[in-house]
Amino acid sequence: MKAVIAIAMLGAVRAANASCNICDFGRELQGGAYLHEELTLLTHVEDPAATSGVARAVPGPGRVVDQIGMAGFRLHGFVGASANIGYHIGLDLGFGATLGRHGGFAYEIGFLPVGIGVRFGRSSWLTLGTGFVASGATGALDDAIALPLDVDLEVDASRVRLIAWARAGWIAGAPMRHDGAASVPFADELDAMVGIRIGHHYEDYGFPTGNGPYVGVAYKEMAGTKFLGLTLGYSMDMATEQTRVDHEVEQEPRPRRHRRHRVVR
């Protein structure tokens, strides 16, 4: 009986140690996140007939959408034990309408659970993510699931912040949407936005954060049609304090002092 109690206590101690390791790991987690609330209006600038580049595997039906208006948000973040690299995850949601011969309700839901985020500076980062994007428009665009490759770049310069992202997607199903982006012959659709945020950068809480409205140029290639438009939005970002762990400090060229954590400002 004593042996059973001793084994149980040993197991409990080991479990406690393991959970303590998890706690340490939790304390060392760092990363960043952003939320963009935005309204995008796009109009067609080049029709399928005029689109040069790759030949479409499936003949398109001609331009089915003249304008697109979408409202929604992009919520992305990355987290890891390193000061500069983390695991990225993202959620995008947009609803709106298409206009043209076939006007209708449009939607886009993207979940990007796999990715990587690279942080440079206190709150600037480049992220790469993939997952799935479901999109469609009633009466205009067939519903489809896409495998996306999403690249986001955010560069902080205090009151001004560059916000840019691009996404290439490979469409499963919906043959009319295949090979619809001449600029990226390896993919079926392309979305991109480049914008400037004018707002604030705060350090009040002991970690970098910022917010402000932004305006950007939006671009889209879909079903052989090119769209160009405007994005108005509001962005908010925050990041943890950058704390370098042992191996990162050791890799620095001339460390002055060797200690477990070093806060980078």
Binding site: E37, A71, F73, F95, D204, P213, V215, L232, Y234
Partner: protein, 214 residues
């Protein structure tokens, strides 16, 4: 030109109501909102009702997460920033509004605080909308008051303004009305068009690109 560009970017509403505290010669009820601390100051607001009976000096505050009496809730209501007057009821309207708020607001507040969920609701903005509807006070909260349209997993009915209808789920909702315009709600974020006063409804800044809602 610079002001117009700034307005377009920041989501501003022209001709907002004055923050001057009204005289105490008649009963006054004010619906005010203030922004949360940064970095959420541009996307989230919190409402409170301020009630002052004729001749009194202090305002009685009704809100989720607070309450009590204050001297000037028009300019200072910690921890909220940038107060904004959404609506004022004075005279007979003020008397009726004050009586109704005193009767119903405490119960609504208790219920919301017991079931509080910061996002998507029910939260302090749900409290504001429920009290407006229950008391028949025709006003609406700004689009940045996320949670104002929380009606449970599926719900609908007449809007707080009283001239429209809305149908809501936590993911998507729609509000249509004469004074409300057309408003689409995407996971609690409001986008739309208000016909009078004319404005584009956005879920940031003051909630409007155009004229203030009066």
């Amino acid at each position: 030109m610079r002001w117009i560009f700034g307005c377009l970017l920041a989501g501003c509403a022209a001709l907002p109501r004055s923050l001057e505290m009204p005289a105490n010669d008649e009963t006054t009820v004010a619906l005010l909102t203030g922004s949360l601390g940064h970095p959420m100051d541009g996307i989230a607001r919190h409402p409170w009702f301020a009630v002052r009976k004729k001749g009194e000096k202090e305002w009685r505050i009704y809100e989720v997460g607070g309450g009590g009496e204050e001297g000037d809730p028009f300019r200072h209501h910690d921890p909220y920033l940038n107060p904004q007057v959404e609506h004022l009821w004075r005279g007979d309207e003020g008397d009726q509004a004050a009586a109704c708020i005193e009767r119903y607001a405490p119960g609504v507040k208790d219920y919301i605080e017991d079931h509080y969920i910061f996002y998507p609701g029910p939260n302090s903005n749900t409290f504001g909308d429920v009290v407006l509807r229950r008391c028949g006070l025709h006003a609406s909260l700004p689009s940045t008051a996320v949670g104002k349209d929380w009606r449970g997993w599926f719900g609908g009915g007449v809007t707080s303004e009283g001239t429209g209808v809305q149908i809501e789920t936590p993911v998507i909702g729609l509000k249509v009305g004469l004074k409300e315009g057309v408003e689409v709600h995407v996971i609690g974020l409001s986008f739309g068009i208000d016909l009078w006063p004319p404005a584009i409804i956005v879920p940031w800044g003051s909630g409007r690109l155009g004229f203030a809602d009066r």
